[in-house]
Symmetry: C2
Subunit: 313 residues, 2 copies
């Protein structure tokens, strides 16, 4: 399987310029830690990088026909936002159990939202795409999506050439695949470590076994980190096997405490998924290699009530 190259990531960086925020790398005064705050993207998560790159890479005729995606989370808003910037039509299939706020936010970005039963999301998206001749933009199982997410790693390498460790959350693996590819190409001495909730640690188990291990959705759904419940595809798993030096798993309580620490000490609102990599720094420092640590804060979209509840603990 041909893996995504650093050239593809560089091409993605050119394409997304101006559409995604070139986030700073934030040195922390309370710890030898640097944060990459993707929560500050306009849609609140790194997903805009991959979605925009994939749509930008389509040929003009194909792009003009429109795109389709399925997601209950940040990918939905990423595709809607990118499509809006290109002035094209986007159809997003969202599970009918998703919070109203997410559905409304996606509609507000101009997308056509179709609510479907959660177990028919993917098949419905394929059917709608075929019927209406729309190009599917998958959340992670796509070279251009991986290359787009990889620009996070490109920017980390530019901003901290002596980084020793890069911590990145693991779910479908698009972000970790892209970041790992960029870091290994540009900072070959740095270690790239994926971080997973203990309650959705299918990738940690799979990498130990040397093959993808399927966890049923109800098992993965136990974690508060709702953005980390997906599983790698063959494509992302192959990347992860190549670019990750290790996987660390963190507890639910460590994730919640990390949301608090990011708010109080870094002044960043992180959703639980977005705080997961930082939990590895805060609670598993003994498992990390030596060197300056970068943690990717992947997103900041969480329900106001959940935020208030976590910060009141």
């Amino acid at each position: 399987m041909e893996l995504v190259s650093i050239e593809e990531i560089r091409a993605a960086a050119s394409r997304i310029k101006g559409a995604a925020v070139r986030t700073p790398l934030l040195p922390q005064s309370w710890a030898p830690l640097w944060l990459k705050p993707e929560s500050l993207q306009g849609i609140g998560a790194f997903k805009i990088r991959g979605a925009y790159n994939a749509i930008a890479a389509l040929d003009e005729e194909q792009r003009a026909r429109g795109v389709v995606a399925f997601s209950s989370g940040n990918h939905a808003q990423a595709v809607a936002y990118a499509a809006k910037r290109f002035g094209i039509h986007a159809v997003i299939l969202i599970p009918d159990v998703a919070p109203r706020a997410k559905i409304e936010a996606t509609k507000a970005l101009g997308a056509e939202v179709i609510e479907v039963p959660i177990d028919r999301q993917e098949s419905s998206a394929l059917a709608v795409g075929a019927e209406r001749n729309l190009t599917p933009i998958p959340p992670f199982d796509h070279r251009d999506v991986i290359a787009g997410q990889g620009t996070v790693g490109l920017e980390i390498a530019e901003d901290l050439p002596d980084a020793g460790v890069v911590l990145v959350p693991l779910s479908g693996g698009g972000l970790a695949s892209g970041v790992g590819t960029a870091i290994k190409a540009l900072l070959p001495g740095a270690k790239v470590i994926g971080v997973e909730p203990e309650l959705a640690a299918d990738t940690a188990e799979g990498l130990r076994a040397g093959r993808r291990i399927e966890w049923p959705m109800d098992r993965r759904a136990r974690t508060i980190a709702d953005g980390l419940r997906a599983q790698p595809s063959d494509l992302t798993f192959a990347h992860l096997q190549t670019v990750l030096d290790d996987v660390i798993t963190v507890s639910e309580d460590e994730i919640r405490q990390s949301v608090r620490t990011l708010a109080h000490r870094a002044r960043l609102i992180a959703e639980p998924s977005g705080a997961t990599a930082t939990a590895a720094y805060l609670f598993h420092r003994g498992e990390l290699p030596e060197g300056k640590v970068v943690s990717v804060v992947s997103g900041g979209n969480l329900d106001p009530a959940m935020l208030a509840e976590i910060l009141s603990d």
Copy 2:
């Protein structure tokens, strides 16, 4: 009175490079609003720019003798942090009524902290400075401090050359003086508007009257925006008279609601002072000139209990 020039601000930008974060300008997907998140500085506020620039501008012999400052807020940590980077001694006089967390944070940055009665802060700082031959670094009444804060405006002008309105909080006036000077020099068509709490609106009243108007401390202390309780000096007032197009005052409730909106929609933790400029956008849009609006989120240091309380409302 000779006002700070754009050349002094450019010189400050060169000096602070690497010491202060070059914060991005964050476009919001929910409103035609751009946020300048100074809350993301290592010490959580723009103050590092002025403090670092002032210390960097000292001659080497003077700098080596050390510095002294008085502050209960973000300036204390800014001077402590800048001194630490230069490897010099800093003495910070903090009122004995200040929260322990602020005192401990300043000590953690390596500064010598002296607790003094709140009404003797400034006189004690002068006495300690004279006795121990330390150079005072004032919070705003100093050209190099104003020039350092002005780099916020320089970056805004670089990132959004077609900005129509820049909203900036008003207190001692160092930030507004510097930002206004940079914007007027670089984007002469843009309007610069100061924002003050109604409960500490001495500058709004003073600018209408054409002279500084003294509000007693107990009157100014009523606002939740504890970073906006200072009053301009002759130097900053002269700048404000020249560079501000208007002043908008906002209510306490508008400030609290803006802290919530920044958390929920921009994923930024802002202290009440840091949310004040954004309150003018959210609640006084009718008073703003036409054009793209930039709001300076000046800082994000607030007590965890206060944050939880505001977000639970």
